[in-house]
Amino acid sequence: MLFRQAGIFHADYSADRALFPIPADRWMIGILLLLALAAPIYMNTLYLSSYLLPWLIWTAGALGLNLILGWAGQFHLGYAAVMGIGAYAAVHATRAGIPWEIAIVLAGITASVIGSVFAFAALRVKGLYLALSTLALQFVMDWTISHVPAISGGTQATLQAPDIRLLGRAVTSDAGLYYVALVWCVLVTSFMLNLRRTALGRALVAVREKDYAAAVIGVNSFYFKLVAFATSSFIGGVSGAILIGTFYHAVTPEQFSVDVSIQALAMVIVGGLGSIIGSYFGAAFILLMPGVMNSFISWATTKFGFSLGIETLAHLPQAFYGALIIGFLLIEPLGLGKIYNNIRDYLLVWPFGYTKK
């Protein structure tokens, strides 16, 4: 009903290759974009600056990780380190007087270069071995940052990030910072959407499915793995830089520690490997759910009048949160994105359930 396919005819190639052939999808995207653009008008600043903004940036980061994990099928346990490289590069560049627009590109390039140099060594191995060597990237970065005062900013290991300036104008309002994050997230999303139908995207999928089979049909798997590492590191680096510029305003090593890498990985896995909408859901789930659970449980305790110790109150949400992750993955191992797709598939043929694929 909603996703009506009747009457859609692909009369030429461009129509056939449209990103969203079904009008309902286009409508939904359009409405969501409008809602996103108008968010500063109807949403209070708390939700805008503390939930929506980090969610958008982390979605962009998760999409970058999804590129390497979901598309190219390569494990990456050091993604936070890559984002950290970008963040530090951008902060140092802006402190040195380089305009922020250029600094974030520099951040992306630095992350990309270091990420792919590491990939050179790491890509000689596969699977779990690769996972471990990327974990090494994380630890090497942690160590370097905390032991080189020139990078970390001295004993305090905190570098204040200068306010971001776009075309010479300082962006400090909540709405302004939100739009910066929104633009970046939309950019990455459209890149990923289009990646699916490019030669690069198809080559990556071929490598993911079986790298020597890909080699047989003429896809240089090492080259494409390297490209995947470089591209995803670029996205990660810029996302890290934007995270610092718009949200943290100061960069410290623990913002990009190994825990954060695991969280990023969880975003992609809970969201769904290779799923774009899944990255949105995954980032929301991993990033916002602990806080939501926290408020939900403290609300429930006051509502139903049972008193809990502060420690129980702190641990209970974690337990629920963990149970939720397991629950979702049991119901649908392919992640939240797949759950969305199941619903959509159901609605595609509704009310004619018997035509189910």
């Binding site: 209070n44 600043t45 708390l46 939700y47 600056s49 503390s50 939930y51 980090p54 402190r95 905390s146 900013g153 001295g154 004993t155 305090q156 290991a157 905190t158 570098l159 204040q160 990030a161 200068p162 306010d163 300082a170 949200f247 943290y248 305003h249 100061a250 410290t252 090593p253 623990e254 913002q255 859901f281 929301a284 789930f285 990033l287 916002l288 759910m289 602990p290 806080g291 939501v292 659970m293 926290n294 408020s295 939900f296 403290s298 609300w299 110790g309 502060i310 420690e311 109150l313 702190a314 641990h315 949400p317 974690q318 629950g327 979702f328 119901i331 939240l336 759950i339 969305y340 619903i343």
Partner: protein, 415 residues
């Protein structure tokens, strides 16, 4: 369907956070790490603060205004700490305490921009005692730098007034918390002519074997240890194994009765600790709390925590914070503003936090209040003070502070 439940949860959260109406109470936000890295200290501190607030409220609160505490978990994650800050800030809370170095660092730029009060005792950046630069940050009490300098002062006293030829090993967990005192120790080593050896060991601190063989080879006269709780227990085991006397060991203040129990009260005899607060439940304030609350079954947690030194630490920090707020109401009147609370805290004079700390005098320049520490020794049954409350090498500590805070001030002007 599950998506619906997420949305329902989100919706509930939305309704939950309706800003409170103009409130009569004085509100303090304790965004603590109650579930991850700082759990060795946060429960005791939170319990102490709640007990003390109850005690004061029973007596009429702060100049007639009751104290309201908001305790929330941030799991030591900067992002959730910021969320806690941003939410409570909009609900009209003006005093925040994160009790976590990473989270304090993460909210600091926002605190400085918004002009709210950040209580940052014992954690976060030490150079924040420079009130000229960090106008809104109050790390009341001694900094790690001051404490390290006092350890050296104690060693100097013990070595007959001179440190020439004395060998000191600085044994620390290799991340920013442990690395912090290195600068001041190096400065003092150069000035006083003692031999300083740095012995780092890696996170999470369970494997110290190589560090202790290194110490055995160096054979230092003293070991200054920057470690957290259970790491001290592991250190004591390694000391035993390497035949190093535990009497040489001077721990940072993060070592409590639980750790002593784990080391073994007899084995720990002679162990030294730098402390910020007077420990033990024989303190008048603790006695009063036990009488007024725990004996009547109204305590906010397990009674045995009142024995813990971290309990007294919580009492000390919040004696200061509440007193500052009280002075703010008394001098500035109701309603409170961050400016008034700042002025209140800065007017603390010779305040000893109900006898728990050495008297401090906070000024607009010195937000630490000249926090002092003392060295205590475990005699097998209790802690015995080895020194008075001291603040050694203040000039050197302040020159490090100034140097670092100038760096911060410079980065602010670059904005």
């Amino acid at each position: 369907m599950k998506l619906l439940s997420i949305l329902a949860g989100l919706a509930l959260a939305l309704f939950n956070v309706v800003p409170a109406a103009a409130a009569d109470p004085v509100r303090f936000a304790l965004c603590y790490d109650l579930s991850k890295a700082y759990t060795f200290v946060t429960p005791q501190i939170a319990q102490a603060v709640r007990d003390y607030a109850d005690l004061l409220n029973a007596k009429g609160g702060l100049e007639g205004h009751p104290i309201e505490l908001i305790v929330q978990d941030h799991g030591n994650e900067p992002q959730r700490g910021i969320e806690c800050y941003e939410r409570l800030k909009r609900e009209g809370v003006m005093v925040f305490d994160m009790l976590s170095t990473p989270v304090s660092r993460a909210v600091l730029p926002r605190i400085m921009k918004d002009g709210n009060i950040l209580i940052q005792s014992l954690v976060g950046r030490g150079d924040a005692v420079d009130g000229n630069v960090f106008k809104w940050v109050f790390p009341i009490g001694p900094t790690y730098w001051g404490q390290a300098a006092n350890d050296i002062e104690y060693i100097k006293q013990k070595s007959g007034g001179t440190l020439k030829g004395v060998k000191v090993a600085f044994f620390y967990i290799d991340y920013p918390f442990g690395q912090e005192p290195i600068g001041i120790l190096k400065t003092l080593a150069q000035k006083e002519g003692f031999e300083l050896q740095l012995v780092p060991y890696p996170l999470p601190g369970n494997d110290q074997a190589s560090a202790w063989t290194q110490i055995r080879r160096l054979n230092p006269d003293w070991i200054v240890s920057w470690s957290l709780s259970n790491m001290h227990v592991i250190a004591s085991r390694e000391m035993k194994r390497n035949g190093i006397s535990i009497e040489k060991y001077i721990a940072v203040n993060w070592l409590n009765e639980v750790d002593i129990k784990n080391i073994g009260p007899d084995v720990a005899k002679g162990l030294k600790r730098g402390t910020n607060v007077a420990g033990g439940s024989n303190q008048p304030l603790v006695q009063q709390i036990i009488k007024e609350l725990y004996d009547k079954g109204k305590g906010n947690g397990d009674r045995k925590f009142t024995e813990d030194v971290y309990y007294n630490t919580g009492l000390a920090i919040y004696s200061i914070a509440f007193e500052g707020a009280r002075l703010a109401i008394k001098n500035g009147g109701w309603p409170l503003t961050p400016d008034k609370i700042k002025a209140g805290l800065e007017s603390l004079k010779n305040y000893d936090a109900n006898g728990l700390i050495a008297p401090i005098t906070v000024t607009a320049q010195d937000h630490g209040g000249g926090g002092k520490t003392r060295i205590e020794m475990w005699d097998g049954g209790k802690w015995v003070p080895q020194t008075d409350w001291i603040a050694g090498f203040q000039d050197d500590v302040w020159s490090v502070v100034k140097e670092q805070s100038a760096d911060y001030a410079k980065s602010e002007t670059q904005k």
